[in-house]
């Protein structure tokens, strides 16, 4: 290439690399960048989490009509009161087998949904509690605020608590399906014996 020496060639390369880095780095992180044919990317169909003006509340994910039961859903017809709690404690029984697979599933669900507060072994010493959340009572040693020891809680009482929540604990009905709640109860029964 003409009479260029090595230094000039090297210099050019360095300048080009630097320019490329500078050009490619000045990207606005708050923007998605350039888009070609955006119609392909902006859906016509509604995503569940998307805004939707066709509904009054503006949401795509609508709640099922009151009183309907989805296929495969197990109803739990006990009121969110002390009486409902006691009644569920006497009448309700889990309908899944106490198999090893169900217990293992229950353990994973417990670790994901319950252990942040209740701790890995149900002693009420989770990491969220360590960050200032009020500690729940221990499954094996604590006393229930609704009477009796935590280790004596029955299927129905635990199911009622998971479904409606109590005191500082919220309702887990939107996060755990009925059969998942049963699996969690299986594992909680194991933790009650610790």
């Amino acid at each position: 290439m003409l009479a260029m020496n090595k230094i000039k060639i090297l210099g050019t390369t360095v300048i080009i690399i630097a320019a490329t880095i500078i050009i490619s780095s000045c990207k606005d992180k708050r923007s998605t960048g350039w888009e070609y044919a955006p119609n392909m990317y902006e859906h016509l169909a509604y995503d569940p989490d998307q805004k939707n003006d066709n509904f009054k509340d503006g949401k795509t994910a609508q709640v099922p009509p009151a009183g309907t039961t989805p296929i495969g859903f197990i109803r739990f017809d006990y009121a969110n009161t002390k009486d409902g709690y006691e009644k569920a404690g006497l009448e309700y029984k889990d309908t899944i087998a106490a198999s090893n697979q169900n217990l293992a599933d229950g353990k994973i669900l417990f670790q994901h949904f319950c252990s942040p507060c209740h701790g890995m072994s149900g002693q009420g010493d989770g990491l969220v509690v360590a960050h200032g959340f009020p500690a729940p009572p221990s499954y094996s040693k604590g006393q229930s605020s609704r009477g009796g020891a935590m280790k004596d809680l029955t299927d129905g009482k635990i199911y009622h608590t998971i479904t409606y929540g109590v005191n500082a604990m919220g309702s887990y009905a939107s996060q755990l399906e009925p059969n998942e709640r049963m699996k969690v109860i299986l594992y909680v029964h194991h933790l009650q014996t610790l």
Partner: protein
């Protein structure tokens, strides 16, 4: 004599009575040991009570300080259910005021334990109040660094000094010129013209230099070419996209420091196409009782946004359904409609960790798109990943059909899922 003894008897009786009352009174209020009480309080009461604010039950500091009927308080703390069952008016009032929530029965606590708790709560409330009343709030602020005012003042002084220097410089130049004019010398202007001529000549010389022109053109072409190349490749690729969300939700605190599993909030990832953005009731599982960051004295404005969107009043702990509005999070990961992606297929069947595609979310204060989500990226992973068939329920049917083929038995379409509704009615 007799009358004297009578008077003495009456006198002594009243003195004894007063002394007795005084002793009772003092013992009822000052007997408790606050340090012992603190241990019992933290072990039994903090699940539902705080000293300064309402949690599940009332804020204990002000309540117990204003109520000095220790006998009744002891009864209530040891067995509130018995008081309610006995239709005690005060007990029923509290029970109804707090939405008939049951308080745990503490029959294992002795009267002495309760006295210790009460004394701890009262002293703790007192110290909190005196600390709040102290005007020493400005002390720590000064330690953290200079205030904004000081910084602005400094910047102002620097700018002012600069202006003064410039003005003075100008004055000096004018004076010098005046001096030179008086002497009849115009060296300066001549010098300026000379420089201008030189400059143009240099540019002209450069334009005539073929090597230089070629060089510049080459550099320009390469730089523009590489810019075009990069821009074309990055069109429709949102990698690094980090929009400002309506609530500054810190993943590094929730998923990092507190190790809350991803599934706790994104519970759809295991069982649906969509990983699901949590509805605000999931936030309220914890934020019903947590309205501020740890050790902060004031409520967090970010958490207040949850309350506002739900029409929740933290004082009364009640929801106003007329004020609710959905939270409009901004979507970061967006696949075009022509590409199908299913979260459960990857998380449940392939047992991938969320971080494989989403990056180190547990360290992100603000989430950004970690992966390019391009077809090349998908294909590369699909080429390199071995399928784990062992004990994987998703593939049992497939394995069974293959075994039938090996044994030379007929396989129908129905056995391969050919009569599932979605095969025709999708």
């Amino acid at each position: 004599m007799r009358s004297f003894s009578l008077i003495f008897k009456q006198f002594s009786r009243s003195v004894l009575l007063i002394a007795g009352f005084a002793f009772l009174g003092s013992s009822a209020y000052a007997q408790g040991d606050a340090t012992k009480g603190e241990a019992i309080f933290k072990a039994n009461c903090t699940t539902c009570h705080k000293i300064d604010i309402r949690l599940i039950g009332p804020a204990l500091g002000p309540t117990v300080t204003s109520d000095t009927d220790d006998k009744w308080l002891t009864k209530w703390i040891e067995n509130n259910q018995a008081l309610i069952a006995a239709h005690d008016k005060k007990a029923l009032d509290i029970y109804n005021q707090y939405a008939q929530a049951n308080m745990t029965v503490f029959t294992q606590l002795s009267d002495g334990d309760v006295a210790n708790i009460l004394s701890y709560v009262r002293t703790a409330w007192k110290t909190q109040q005196t600390a709040a009343a102290k005007p020493g709030a400005s002390g720590p602020a000064a330690e953290t660094g200079p205030s904004d005012l000081v910084i602005y003042a400094l910047i102002g002084v620097i700018i002012l000094a600069f202006i003064i220097i410039l003005v003075l410089n100008k004055v000096v130049i004018t004076l010098e010129r005046l001096l030179e004019k008086n002497q009849g010398l115009f060296i300066e202007e001549v010098a300026v013209e000379k420089v201008a001529v030189d400059r143009f000549a240099f540019a002209r010389k450069l334009a005539k230099n073929k090597k230089f022109v070629f060089f510049t053109l080459l550099c320009g072409t390469l730089a523009l070419g590489s810019w075009t190349w990069i821009t074309m490749w990055n069109t429709n690729v949102h990698q690094g996209y980090q929009p400002v969300q309506p609530i500054k939700f810190p993943h590094d605190l929730h998923a990092g420091a507190m190790k809350i599993d991803c599934q706790y909030c994104h519970s759809g990832a295991y069982k649906s196409k969509n990983a699901s953005i949590p509805s605000l009731n999931v936030c309220m599982n914890c934020h019903k009782t947590i309205d501020r960051t740890l050790n902060s004295k004031t409520a967090s404005p970010e958490i207040k946004k949850i309350y506002d969107a739900l029409g929740y009043d933290p004082q009364t702990q009640k929801y106003d359904s007329t004020k609710t509005r959905p939270m409009q999070w901004i979507r970061i990961h967006n696949l075009p409609d022509f590409a199908y992606f299913n979260h459960s297929q990857h998380v449940k069947v392939a047992k991938l960790r969320c971080q494989t595609c989403h990056g180190p979310i547990e360290t992100m204060k603000e989430v950004y798109q970690y992966s390019p989500l391009t077809m090349k990226w998908c294909v590369q992973c699909h080429k390199r990943t071995n399928v784990d068939f062992k004990g994987n329920a998703y593939y049992t049917k497939m394995e069974a059909v293959h075994n039938l083929i090996k044994e030379g038995k007929p396989v129908t379409a129905a056995m391969m899922g050919g009569i599932e509704c979605g095969k025709c009615h999708y």
